[in-house]
Symmetry: C2
C-alpha cells in the first residue's frame, strides 16, 4: 500500500470557516508516491472552480417555452412518427371519467400554469424555492377558487377544493402541500372540530388567506403515535385561558409544514389538563406570528432545514413557553371546558375522542393517494411517450427497435399503467363517498389501506419510469426525477404506510375472529361461509383474465392470511405474551393481511364500477378498463409469493399467471398512447422527452 509520511500541517487550515471549535487533525496525509500538485495545475483547478462560480446557471431550463410551443403545435410529432392503433375508446370521455369533476376548473388552472411565474425552476437555494412557491400560491389564491369550498360544507365545495389541490399538484408538489396544509389540515380541522360559531368566524378568513395557518400535531419524539404527544394545555379558570407549554425537547412540534415562516396561526394539538386531570389530546387555535411577520409572544420557531425534496415547503419546529390562549380558542365541537373549569365531551371514551380529533387526516390520506396517482400518471405519460420515440439496438443493418417494443420495457411500464387506471377508478369511488360523507368506519380502513398501496405504487412507478428513460429520466427538466424526490415523502407522512396497514388489520381482524367463533361470517367476510366451494374451485379450467378468477384467488388469500394471523395471535397469547407483544411479533402477517384485505376491497369496487358503467352503456370504456383490471390483478398475483405460500394459487397457476401477464402487456401495447392521453395532462406539464427529444436537444437550440 502507499506509504504515508508527515506533511507540513500548515498546508491544511485548522480553523473552521465558521469560527467553531478546531477538531480537524492535520494528520500526515501526503502519499510519498508523488509530490503535491504543482502551482500550474492548482491553477487549473482554481480556474475551473471559478468558472463554475461565475457561470449564471439559469433556473428555468433553457428552451422551455420553445419545446412546449412545438409540442402544442404537434402533440403527436414523435421524431420518427408513431403509428397509432385504431382507438379502443373515446379519449375525452375517459378523461372525464378519471378526473371525475370540475374538468373546466382543472383546465383553467393548467392554462394559468403557462404563465412565466409557474415555469419550472431547478437548482434553487432553499430561500429561493420557498419564495417561488409563495408567489405561485398567491397567484392561485387570487383567483378565489377556494372561497366557500370547505366552509360551505357541500359536495360541490369539497370537490372544488380537491380539484384545485390536485391541479396544483400536477405542477408542483410543494405548492399543493403548502395549500393542503393551510386549507386542508388547518382549515378542515377548524371546520370539523370547531363549533358552528368558530367555523363561521375563522373559515372565511382562512379561505381568503387573511389568516395563514398550519397544523401542529407531530412532535420530535412522536410521529406515528400521535396520541403520545407531550405538549400540554393547562386550563386556568382565573384568567379563563389555556396555558400551552412544551415540557421537553422531544415535545417540540416538528415537521410542521409552513410553520417556519409562512403561517401566522396554528392548530396546536396538546394534552388538555383541567385541574389535575388530563383529558387527552385536543386542538387549540394559537397565534405563532403576528401579521407583520414578527414571532408571537411565547413562541419559538426554527427551521427543519433542507430536505431531499419538497423544499418549497418551510417545515418548521415550534416551542410554546406558557402561551396564553383564550378559552374560545379551544376547538369545541365535541369537547369543551366551561369557564369555571368543567370538562364535558360528546364522546364517552378517550379513544373515540382521539379518533374524532384526527378526522381531518382521513381526508388528507385520500388527497395524498390522489396526488400520488397523478404523479404516477405524469411519470408514465412521459416514459411511455419517450419509449414510443426512442430506439435502441436492432438488426445489424436495419432501423433500431422502439423501446416499447421490447418485452422487458412493456413489462416495466404497462402493468404500472394498468394499475394506475385501476386504482384511479377505485379511488374515485372512495373520493365520491368522502365528498358525500357517506362512509363510517370504512373511511378509516379504506383511506388507510388505499393511501399505503397507492403511494407505494406511485413511488415504484416513478422509479420505473425514471429508469425506463435512462439518463433522460434523471434530468430535472424531464420532471420524473424531481417529482420522485418530492413524492418520496408520501409513503411516510400523513400516516406511515406500515403503521396504516397495521391499523387496517387491527380494525378488520375482530370481525374475522367473530366469524370464526360464531361459525358464521358477517359483512365483508361473508364469502367465507362458502369456503368449501372457494377451495374446490378449479382455477385451471377458468379464464385467468376474468376478474372472477382474481376474486377467487384474492379471497382465498385473504381468508388464509387472516386465519394464519388469528391462529398465531391466539397461540402467542396462550404462551403468555401480551396482546401488544403478540401483535408486534406478528407484524409481517399483519401487514400481509392488510394488503390482502385492501386489494380485495379494491377488486370488489372495481368489479362494481365496471358493472355500473356497463349498465350505462359505456361498453368501449368498460372494455378498456377491463383490460387494465386484468393486468392489474395478474400483476398483483405475480408480485408476491404470498399467493402460493398461502395456498391461494397453485404453482402451476402461478406460472400461467406470469405468462399471461406478458401476453396481456403485448395486447395492450398498441393502445398505450391513447391510455396516457386520457390522463388529460397538457404538454407544458409533461417534458421535452415526451415529444421531440432530438429537436429539443438540437444544436440549433443552443
Amino acid at each position: 500500500m502507499a506509504r504515508l509520511s508527515a506533511v507540513n500541517p500548515k498546508e491544511l487550515p485548522l480553523h473552521s470557516a465558521r469560527g467553531g471549535p478546531i477538531f480537524f487533525q492535520a494528520h500526515a496525509l501526503q502519499a510519498s508516491s508523488g509530490p503535491p500538485l504543482s502551482a500550474a495545475n492548482q491553477t487549473l483547478f482554481d480556474r475551473a472552480a471559478r468558472e463554475f462560480s461565475v457561470t449564471d446557471t439559469p433556473r428555468v431550463p433553457p428552451n422551455h417555452l420553445k419545446w412546449v410551443q412545438d409540442a402544442e403545435n404537434n402533440p403527436d410529432q414523435f421524431p420518427d412518427g408513431v403509428v397509432c392503433a385504431t382507438p379502443l375508446f373515446n379519449i375525452s370521455v375517459m378523461r372525464r371519467l378519471l378526473d371525475n369533476n370540475h374538468i373546466e376548473l382543472r383546465d383553467r388552472l393548467y392554462q394559468l400554469f403557462k404563465h412565466p411565474d409557474f415555469h419550472p425552476r431547478y437548482g434553487l437555494s432553499l430561500a429561493e424555492e420557498r419564495a417561488h412557491v409563495m408567489k405561485m400560491w398567491k397567484r392561485v389564491a387570487a383567483l378565489g377558487f377556494m372561497q366557500n369550498s370547505l366552509s360551505a360544507g357541500t359536495v360541490e365545495g369539497r370537490q372544488r377544493y380537491d380539484a384545485v389541490i390536485e391541479s396544483c399538484g400536477m405542477l408542483s408538489h410543494s405548492l399543493d402541500i403548502k395549500m393542503s396544509v393551510h386549507y386542508g389540515l388547518f382549515g378542515a380541522t377548524i371546520k370539523l372540530m370547531g363549533d358552528d360559531e368558530q367555523a363561521a368566524r375563522w373559515m372565511p378568513l382562512l379561505e381568503r388567506c387573511e389568516m395563514l395557518g398550519c397544523f401542529a400535531l407531530t412532535e420530535l419524539g412522536h410521529g406515528s403515535n400521535a396520541r403520545a404527544v407531550e405538549t400540554v394545555a393547562k386550563y386556568q379558570p382565573s384568567s379563563r385561558t389555556f396555558i400551552i407549554y412544551t415540557p421537553t425537547d422531544s415535545a417540540q412540534k416538528y415537521w410542521i409544514g409552513g410553520a417556519f415562516q409562512t403561517a401566522r396561526w396554528t392548530v396546536c394539538f396538546a394534552q388538555l389538563t383541567v385541574g389535575s386531570v388530563c383529558h387527552g389530546v385536543h386542538p387549540f387555535l394559537v397565534r405563532i406570528r403576528n401579521d407583520d411577520g414578527s414571532v408571537a409572544k411565547g413562541i419559538t420557531l426554527a427551521d427543519c432545514g433542507h430536505k431531499c425534496g419538497l423544499n418549497g415547503v418551510d417545515n418548521g419546529r415550534i416551542w410554546f413557553d406558557n402561551v396564553s390562549v383564550p378559552l374560545g380558542h379551544m376547538l369545541r365541537r365535541y369537547s369543551q371546558v366551561s369557564p369555571d373549569g368543567v370538562y364535558t365531551s360528546k364522546f364517552s371514551s378517550p379513544d373515540e375522542r382521539f379518533g374524532a380529533s384526527l378526522a381531518s387526516l382521513s381526508g388528507g390520506r385520500i388527497s395524498v393517494a390522489s396526488g400520488c396517482l397523478n404523479q404516477a400518471k405524469i411519470g408514465l405519460t412521459i416514459a411511455i411517450r419517450y419509449a414510443l420515440s426512442r430506439r435502441a439496438f436492432g438488426p445489424r443493418d436495419g432501423e433500431e427497435v422502439r423501446l416499447l417494443d421490447y418485452q422487458s420495457h412493456q413489462y416495466r411500464l404497462i402493468p404500472a399503467l394498468a394499475t394506475t387506471y385501476s386504482m384511479q377508478i377505485v379511488l374515485n369511488d372512495l373520493h365520491q363517498k368522502w365528498h358525500r360523507q357517506e362512509l363510517g368506519k370504512q373511511l378509516h380502513v379504506w383511506s388507510s389501506g388505499f393511501k399505503a398501496l397507492m403511494t407505494w405504487h406511485s413511488l415504484a412507478t416513478l422509479q420505473e419510469a425514471r429508469e425506463a428513460c435512462g439518463g433522460q429520466g434523471y434530468k430535472s427538466e424531464n420532471r420524473i426525477g424531481p417529482i420522485k424526490n418530492g413524492h418520496d415523502v408520501a409513503v411516510t407522512y400523513e400516516g406511515d404506510n406500515h403503521i396504516l396497514l397495521q391499523a387496517v388489520t387491527k380494525t378488520v381482524l375482530p370481525e374475522f375472529i367473530r366469524g370464526v367463533r360464531n361459525g358464521v361470517f358477517q359483512g365483508h367476510f361473508a364469502y367465507l361461509n362458502e369456503r368449501g366451494a372457494l377451495q374446490r374451485a378449479d382455477l385451471s379450467v377458468m379464464d385467468a383474465r376474468s376478474l372472477e378468477y382474481a376474486e377467487i384467488v384474492f379471497r382465498r388469500r385473504e381468508g388464509a392470511v387472516f386465519a394464519k394471523l388469528a391462529k398465531q395471535l391466539e397461540k402467542m397469547r396462550q404462551s403468555g405474551m401480551s396482546a401488544l407483544e403478540a401483535f408486534n411479533n406478528s407484524a409481517i402477517v399483519v401487514e400481509e393481511a392488510a394488503r390482502a384485505h385492501t386489494e380485495l376491497i379494491m377488486l370488489e369496487l372495481l368489479q362494481r364500477r365496471l358493472k355500473s358503467l356497463d349498465a350505462e352503456g359505456q361498453h368501449d370504456i368498460v372494455h378498456a378498463l377491463q383490460m387494465c383490471a386484468t393486468l392489474y390483478t395478474l400483476k398483483c398475483m405475480d408480485s408476491s409469493t404470498v399467493f402460493v405460500r398461502s395456498g391461494a394459487l397453485p404453482a402451476t397457476e402461478a406460472d400461467r399467471v406470469h405468462n399471461l401477464l406478458l401476453s396481456c402487456c403485448k395486447e395492450m401495447r398498441p393502445y398505450v398512447l391513447d391510455f396516457v392521453k386520457a390522463f388529460g395532462i397538457p404538454a407544458h406539464l409533461l417534458a421535452p422527452i415526451a415529444f421531440d427529444y432530438v429537436g429539443h436537444n438540437s444544436r440549433a437550440r443552443l
Copy 2:
C-alpha cells in the same frame, strides 16, 4: 361546479419575463364564488415571500460540528442507552475483511473529510455545487495518492486507486464520479487502449491533474448501444490527421461527465473511416478546452443541466466541427493507421475490437457496484442506529418500544444488512481478481451481473432505510435522502441494468445450449449432469439455513429457467422469427436467467470464501458471515415467485423459507450494532439521527 366568469385580462401579464413569445392565454380564471385577494392579504403573501428571499439559509446544516464532536465522544450514547449483546466477532477484524486493503489510507482520507471544506452542504445552486466539488477534488488531489496508481500497472496501484475513489464516495458521490471520470474512464482508457509510449506520455500528466479529461462515448441518440455511435473520425493522409465531426443532432456527445466546464481533454469514441472503409468505433484523444478555459477550435460545448441528484458533476454535450486531431492521438495499442492510410488491427473481428475498446467499462462497473454497496452501508448504519434509539407505541402506561424490536422493522432492515455483507464478500473476490487481472470472459459476465444486482440492492436498501427513518430519513442532514437521489443514476449508467442482465444471458446461454446438444454439460453448468439427483433431493428434510439447501434451490432454478429460455427461443426461431426478435420477445425470461446465474455464482463464491476463512481459523467471522449468507439466500428465495413457478421450490418449502426468514431476523437482531460498526464508517460520515437525535434537535442548540 364553480361558475367561471371573465376577468380583466390585464390582471395577468402576457409577456414572458425572458421576452419570449407570448403563449400564455389569459383565459377567464376567476371563480365567481368570491372576490380576488384583498390588498391586505396580498400583503401577507408578499411579506412571507420577501422573508424567504432575505433569509440567508445556511448551506452547511446548523450544529454540524457539534453533533459530530458529541458522537465522537460518545459513539454509543443513544439517548436511552442501548444494551449491546455479547460480541459475536471482532469488529476491527471484520472491518479489515470488508474494506480489504489500504485501511490506513482510507482512514486518513476520512480524517481529511473533517476539514470545513468537506462539510456537507445542501440547497446549493448548480454553480455553487459544482464549484464545491472542484474545491474538494483539489484538496484530495494535492495529497498525491493517485500518482503512479493506474499508470503503474501494479496490483497495489489499482487497489490504491479504488481505495481513494471508494473513500471519496463515502463523502460525496459527485466527488467520486468526477474523479472516476477523469482517472478511471479517461485515464484507464489511455492506459488500456494507448500503446506504451502514449501511456508513458499522458498518464503521469493526468495522474498529476495537469491534464483534466473526460470520456466521450455516449451520444444523444446512442446510450446503451454504444456500437451505433455516429461521430466520425476520417483519416486524411495528406495532413496526417483525423478529421472528427458530429454528423447529426443525435450524434452529439451527451451526458459526458466533466465535459461542460472541467475537462480540457476527452477520449472521443468515433467511427474510424479510412478511405471509404469504416472500421468501427475507436478512441481518439482530443482537446476540448485550452488550459486557460477557452473552448478549443471546432468544439462546441453545452450543459446537460440540472439533474435530480449528482449536481456536482458538470455533465456536458460536445459537438465536433471537423476538428483536426494528429495521427498520434489515436489510441493505438490494438489498432492503428499508418501515415499513408493503412489500417491494421490485432483483432480480426469488429466484435473483439469493440469489446476491447470498452474494457475500461468493466472496471467501471466493479467500481460502481462497490460504491453502491458502500452507500447501502451508510444508509443501513444510520437507519439501524436510529431504530435502536427511536421508540414508538407501546403498552399504555409503559415505555414505548424500540423500532428495531418490531418484527416489521427487523424484516425491512436486517435482510438488507445481511445481503450487503454477502455481496461485499463476493464483490471483494471479484475486485481482487480484477486487481490481479486474473479474469477472462468471466470479467464481463460477472461485472455486469454484479453491477446490476448490487446497484438495485443498494437503491432498494437506501429507500427502505429512508422510509424506516420516517421524516428524519427525508431530511438532508441525515444523508440517506440525498445519497439516494445521487445514487439513483447508478442503475442506468455504466451499462443500464436491464441491458447488462441481457448481456449476461447472451454470453452464458451458448454454453448451456451446447450442454443440451451434447448431452454433457461443461464448466459452470456441470452440475446439471447430475440433474436427476438435483430434482430428487428432498428439501423438506434439509436444514433450510444451510447454504447446501440454497445451492440446490438456486441450481434447480437456474437449470429450469435456462431450459425454458432455450426451448422458447428454439420454438420462436422455428416459427420464423429472427434470432434478435426471438431474444427481444423473451426478454423477461432472459433477465430471469441472468439473475438466476448471477445469484448462483454469488452463492458459490460465498461458499468458497467461507471455506477459506474457516481454513484460516477465523471461526467467529465465519459464523457471523454464515448468518448473513443464510439470511441473504432466504431473502432471495422469498422475494420472487420464480422459484415456485420454475419448480425449484415447492409451495410448502416457500412457506417454510418465509417463516425461517423472520426467525433469522430475530436471531440476528442482538448483533446488528456490531455488524454496522464493522463497516468502519466514522461519525462525521453518518448523521445526527445515528446518535443522539433529541440532543441534536434540542432547544439549547438553537
